[in-house]
Each structure stands twice: as C-alpha cells, then as structure tokens.
Amino acid sequence: MSSESVGILSSPDRSSSPSLIDQLTQNSCTATQISTDYPGEILQQIRSPGKRQLTIEESIVTTNDSKRICNSNLREQCDSKSTAIITSSPSPTSSNNTDSISFPPSSPLSSEVINWLDIFLAMSNEDRTRATEALIRTCSTNILQLNQIKNQIEPYFQRDFIRDLPRELALHVLKYLPANDVARASRTCRSWYETCNDILLWKRICQRKMIPLKKLRTIFDEAIENEWKRSYACHKHLEYVWQHEQLVPEPVVLRGHEDFVITCLQFDGKRIVSGSDDNTLKIWSVATGKCDQTLIGHNGGVWCSEMTDELIVSGSTDRTIRVWNIGTGVCQHILYGHTSTVRCLALHGDIVVSGSRDATVRVWNIRTGERLHMLSGHTAAVRCVCYNGKYVVSGAYDHTIRVWLPDQEKCVHTLEGHTNRVYSLVFDGKHIVSGSLDCMIRVWDVEQGTCIHQLTGHLSLTSGMQLRGN
C-alpha cells in the first residue's frame, strides 16, 4: 500500500488527542495504515479551524448517560487506558499529537489483558487486522458483547457538526430547518444553544413568514432575549390562541368612567389611556388592571387623545387642548384658540395638530404650549386629521379632504369626491385613504392631489381604518 495517506483514526474530540491505537503505536514512529476495506473510509481527521478546544475540566466531566461515551469523554478513557498500558514507550508528550495531561486510570487492567495488549502491540499491521477480525468473529455469537464493541466504536464515527463546524457553516445547516426544529435543537447543549440563538437566523425565519419585529412589550419579554425569536414566538402563540379560543383568559374589565361614554383610547403596551364624556381621562396599568391616574381639568367631555412616552394630549368639548404629564398627572399646558369642540388630534414629535367643530385646523407645540398656525378653509366641522411632519391632512363634514403645508399655512390640495361627510383618514406619507358616510373609501395621492382608487362595499358609514403594508 502506498504511504501517501495517513489513515489514522484519531479521537472525535478534535482537540486531537490520540486514539487508543495511536497511543499503542508510539513505539513505531511510522504512520500506520488501517485497511480500508471497511465500507466508509477511515480518514485522517482535519481539525476544523477556529473552534475552541475543550478545556481540561470539560474533558474530565462525566457524562449523564453512563452507557454512552460522549465526545468529551473519549479522551479521558483513552488516556487512562494508555497510561496503564504503556510502560517502556516514550511518554505521551513526545508525540506531537498529545497534550501532557495525566488522568487517574480507571479500574486497572489485569495482567492477562496487559500481556494480551502487549502482544497486539508487537504485531504487524496485517496481523492486527486479522486479529481484530478474528476477535469480532469470536464475539459475534455473543450479541451483548458485539453490541458493546459497536457502542465503543460508534462515537468515533459521530461528529458534533454544530459545535465543530465554523460558525457560518453551522448556520448554513440550521438555515434549512423550520423554527420548531431550531428551537428544539437549542435545547441540546450549550454550544448549540448559543448558535441556535443567532439573531440573523431568527430574523430570516420571521421574514420568510412576513412576521414583523415586535417592538411593544410581550409576554415573552422575560423568557426570550433574542428579539426576532421573541417576535416569532409571539406570532406563533397568537395563532395558537386564536385557534383554541377557550384558552384566552377572561378579559379584565376596567371600571371607572361609570355611565359615561368612553370616547377614545390610547395604548402603548403597558398603559391604557381612556378619555370620557365625564370630562376626565384615566391612565390604566395593563399589568395590574388598576387605574393609576385620573386627569382632571377639562370642563367638557374629552373626545380625542394622543400619547407619547411622557405626555398625554387631550381635546375636549370645552374647546381646549390640554397637555398632561403621564407620570405626575399634572396638566402642563392648556391650549386656547378653538371656538368649538376639539374633535381630533394628530401628534408628531413636539407638534400636535388639532381639528375642531369650528372648521379650523390648528398647529401647536406641546412642549412650549405655543400656538403655531391656524389653517382655515373647511366649511364644516373637521372630523379627522393626520400629520407626518410635512403634510397636514384633514377630513371634514364638508365632504372634502384638505392637504396643508402648515408652516406656510397654505392649503395645497382640496380633495373632492366624497358625497357625504368624511369620518376617517389614514396617511402614510404618500397615500391618503379616506372613509366617508357615503359608504366609500377613497385612495388619494398626496403629491398629485388626485384620487387613485375608489373602494365600494361597505353598507354604511366607514369610520375606522388602518393601513398595513399596502
């Protein structure tokens, strides 16, 4: 046989500790070649680059399953056997393969076994092959013993791919797995856990199913740190809950605005802000279900509100807009100007835009309390308003929608088409979608000022809409 391939099977622990055979052949420094008649070739192990080696502690730690030899255990077993055997051979450290670690030997081998192994050591390669063949043939009548041999050999043919491959290749494997399998794989061991929690892996899983990143608080916040995995888990759980409705917990009823209409609601994931015809707003905690604050001050029913992390802005039939501090409940500003009910608000940064029954739209700074602009043009109550920082879009009972540049106090478009009151608007910066008492939904281009679609179907007033995607 040519000597070109070094067919030594080294330990699966790829910190390249030598196999038992390796240790036994220390005496002969030539490379041995094991017959490759075995189906599936025995190959030299190439250490995978860039992975950390097992520490001494890790390779000593005992396995959970005493019957199964794990990758990290083989080294201990090999070395402990070899220290018992090798008497006159050079110490393991002389080989360029071994680290000099000494292990306490497991139960010592009997002298007969030692002699037997010495004889094996002294054999030629060919004899060794024949000897092992004969040994296995002899054991083949005893299925238990044969099983034992198989269990001893098997680990050498197994590889921990996810731990040992370079990270990008391990992820290349995991890429092919659906979410459930990735989640289950992460429960295997620490190195798998770390790799299976790769953020881009989960981002891709979410994107495949068009699951957006969940930014608001979720029930998995404590359990799952990986934000894309969390988003996936929420989505999956939501689907499950929808399909098994009996598992939805009893809704919590928040009592407070007794006998009065609740006119508007805001929600930020941990707080609910309700506005009511009883002239107050209430801040509720989602976690406890209790009312944390009641905002008192308006002299008329509250009919619209907006919230940020720190502030609540409310509009009332008392014609004012109030700016409240969420934490303290203190009213920081009262904005005067409208001559009738403030019916709708739109918040963008420090600017709030208000629409009123007085047919005007006004622009205010909620930090300073300054009155900034007044936009006149509508001829009836303004019912809904949107603001994206550039355009103000307002819908009114005069059947029209107006597009304004607030800083110039200029109306750039008056969108006509609806044949009855406009009740609701959504605006994404490019398109305006309006709903009306005429049962139609219209889609407009904000730059051109033209109507691009008309949607029929509703049988009555369309009063609430939301945009998702396109």
């Binding site: 959970n64 290749l169 289950r184």
Partner: protein
C-alpha cells in the same frame, strides 16, 4: 477545448487528473485558473486543506454533476426545501458523520455550492423532527446544562410545542 485535464493535489501528496470543466465547478479552482493565471497544462494545483480520500469523493461528486445547470441565486426569504436531494446524492452521502463533516469543509474551501448545500441539507435532515435527546444520541453530544438551565431553556421554547 474538451478533454483538457488539470492536476489536483491533495495535502497528503496524491495527485488526481481531472477535466478542467469538472474542476471548475469549484469556484476556488476556477479563480486560481482564470484570475491567477495558473496554466492548465503543466501546473499542479495544490489543495492544502483537502486530503486524498475526501478529494476523491469530491471529484466523484463533481464528475456526476458536471452537466448540472448552475445553481440559482439563493433567495433568503424562500422556504428551503429539505426533501429535494436526488437519490444519487443520497447514496453518495451514505457515509459516516466524520466523512460528511470533512465533505462540508472541503465543499466550503473549494466553494462548490451544490455540494455544500446538499451536505448541509443532509445534516439538517438528521436534526429535523428530533427531540433534544434524540439529537444528542445522533451526534454523540453531551448535555452540559445544569438542571435549572435546562428547565429555563425548556420554558423559553415551550411555544414551539404548541400545536
């Protein structure tokens, strides 16, 4: 220039004569030939990261796949299909895990997308549908979690067992 051969040398000294077109399925080799101006006639291309036995397998795969259309650009957002491995490839990959491992590394080093994909899919198929304990048995992995960690991670992943 059909029939043009090139010599590939494994890291343990074996050389293999291979058709240039077959060898060029390896983007690495293709680059060496085209961009680095290595001559096809005389030179031996050394492959220091691949041993003889694995190189032999790789050449066998590349020879069988020489008429394959070039693989399509990876669409990251498309659901990946694990069951589309040809029966020839399945047989070819009926090897021990050690060999499969080396094939992945070789396919990566030689930049042969088709081989890399099919070997990784094969490993993925060994993981798919298995419980953590079954996976450990499959790959001879030691469970190094403390009981508390294991419990916590189980909770973290409970949602995926909801049917």
């Amino acid at each position: 220039m059909a029939g043009n051969k090139i010599k590939l040398q494994s890291n343990d000294g074996d050389t293999f004569d291979v058709d240039v077109e077959i060898a060029k399925q390896s983007a690495t080799i293709k680059t060496m030939l085209e961009d680095l101006g290595m001559s096809e006639e005389d030179d031996v291309i050394p492959l220091p990261n691949v041993n003889s036995a694995i190189l032999k397998k790789v050449i066998q795969w590349a020879t069988h796949h020489k008429d394959d259309p070039p693989p399509p650009e990876d669409d990251e957002n498309r659901e990946k299909n694990l069951s589309d491995i040809s029966s020839w490839d399945q047989d070819f990959l009926k090897v021990d895990q050690g060999t499969l491992f080396e094939l992945i590394l070789a396919a990566n080093y030689l930049d042969i997308k088709g081989l890399l994909d099919v070997t990784c899919k094969t490993v993925a198929n060994m993981i798919k549908g298995r419980t953590p304990e079954e996976i450990r048995r499959q790959f001879n992995i030691k469970n190094d979690f403390t009981p508390q960690e294991e419990e916590q991670i189980k909770k973290e992943n409970e949602w995926c067992e909801e049917k």
